[in-house]
């Protein structure tokens, strides 16, 4: 084992998650390398310090009144139409707006998936689409993404390694593109072109994940 390999495995080693052979190999490297020994001690000290930090801090003001005002409004709507009806209505809006998104509803994990027409992908997001994204909020995108990744993870034994590699590689490419667009937007927040590009990237990523999750079993 060399110093770079040591650095890659240091967390697994500290967490006791390395296999016997690898852990032994790492210990042998430590016996001969004063630099990595010092690195390990330093990281262990920092981790201990971080782990011992407080886990709770009351905010300077009570946040509940603001939360209550908003949840009470939702309650009124919920009480009138019911949660499932509300989500179904939201899904219908999503279809009209050509947005690709997913809702995981209830403890039974019922899934409502909607897909946009292919032409919309090629022509870029419409104003309505952008408005829809704004309405949905980026957090919804992240939640949907995480949930689809969970679904993909659950199916990965049914898909070939090659397929999984292609999917993950493409997700990464889109992530990098989104990071670059986000950075540019940081300097020019009102840039409509960049906003469209970002919305398009969100949509493509969800689309990619949905396609992967729906793929027939290969293995």
């Amino acid at each position: 084992m060399n110093c770079r390999e040591f650095t890659d495995r240091i967390d697994e080693f500290l967490d006791g998650r390395l296999g016997t052979v690898e852990a032994e190999s790492l210990r042998m490297h430590l016996a001969d390398c004063t630099s990595c020994t010092a690195e390990l001690a330093s990281i262990r000290e920092l981790r201990d310090l971080a782990t011992a930090l407080p886990r709770s801090l009351e905010p300077p003001r009570d946040l509940w009144p603001g939360i209550e005002a908003r949840v009470s409004r939702t309650k009124e709507v919920r009480g009138r139409f019911g949660r499932r009806a509300l989500l179904a209505a939201a899904a219908a809006v999503v279809v009209v707006s050509s947005v690709v998104t997913a809702y995981f509803i209830g403890r039974s994990q019922a899934i409502v998936l909607t897909a946009e027409p292919r032409a919309a992908v090629e022509s870029g997001p419409s104003e309505m689409l952008l408005a829809s994204f704004e309405g949905l909020g980026v957090n919804n995108y992240l939640d949907t993404r995480t949930e689809l990744l969970d679904a993909l993870e659950a199916r990965k034994h049914e898909l070939s390694g090659e397929t999984m590699d292609v999917v993950m590689e493409n997700l990464l490419l889109i992530d990098r593109a989104m990071d670059r667009i986000a950075e540019a937007l940081g300097e020019d927040p009102e840039n409509e072109f960049l906003m469209k590009q970002l919305a398009g990237a969100y949509r493509r990523q969800i689309d990619l994940l949905q396609r992967a999750v729906r793929m027939p079993a290969e293995v």
Binding site: A52, P54, S56, E58, R70, I105, G106, L149
Partner: protein
């Protein structure tokens, strides 16, 4: 010298996963999911400290942390129907909060407009013998001064106990990138703490 808030000693990590008696929690969550605002307020009171501190550590800005903590609870209220009960409510809420903070980061319109403080509103645990208050304060300030990506990965990995695989999925970066950010964060922190 700023007045630093004092918080109670941090319980062991395993204990953080369950708040209160599980049956009572389940009852509160079920009631809240059916639209009971009072039940949701109880859940809020029990969890707001942890949610707020997580937001504060991840974003480094007290006023933004308040907004994000509020948003996290509102998101939790909206998504209570998707809470399946296979983890503790506090664990699920933690994940919702992380998503809210990361979502805000992607919402770039306000990202660069905020001025990041140097961690002066972060807590110092004066009742715990190790680490010393001075060390903890130095660490909190140094964490607050980290670049966004490095701070996120350090807080999630070394403070909150997430693994790289999960961080990669939550933040949308590759596992290797998460490891590299952690390496960078630790290097910067050790340098800051040594100076």
């Amino acid at each position: 010298m700023a007045n630093f808030p004092v918080s109670k000693p941090a319980p062991p990590r395993a204990a953080m996963r369950v708040v209160g008696i599980p049956e009572i929690r389940e009852n509160l969550v079920d009631r809240a999911a059916r639209g009971d605002v009072e039940a949701f307020e109880e859940l809020y009171r029990e969890n707001v400290g942890r949610v707020y501190l997580l937001c504060l550590r991840m974003c480094g800005d007290p006023s933004l942390a308040e907004e994000l903590a509020q948003e996290a609870f509102i998101r939790a209220w909206q998504k209570l129907g998707s809470f399946r009960g296979d983890s503790a409510f506090s664990t699920w809420l933690h994940r919702v909060t992380v998503n809210v903070v990361l979502g805000d980061r992607r919402s770039t319109a306000r990202r660069e407009a905020r001025v990041k403080p140097a961690g002066e509103d972060l807590p110092v645990d004066l009742s715990t013998p190790e680490p010393s208050p001075g060390q903890a304060l130095d660490l909190e300030r140094s964490i607050a001064a980290l670049p966004d990506g490095a701070r996120t990965v350090f807080v999630l990995h070394d403070v909150e106990g997430y693994r790289h695989k999960e961080i990669a999925r939550l933040t949308g970066v590759a596992e290797g990138t998460s490891k590299a950010q952690l390496h960078r964060a630790r290097k910067l922190l050790r340098k800051a703490l040594a100076s």
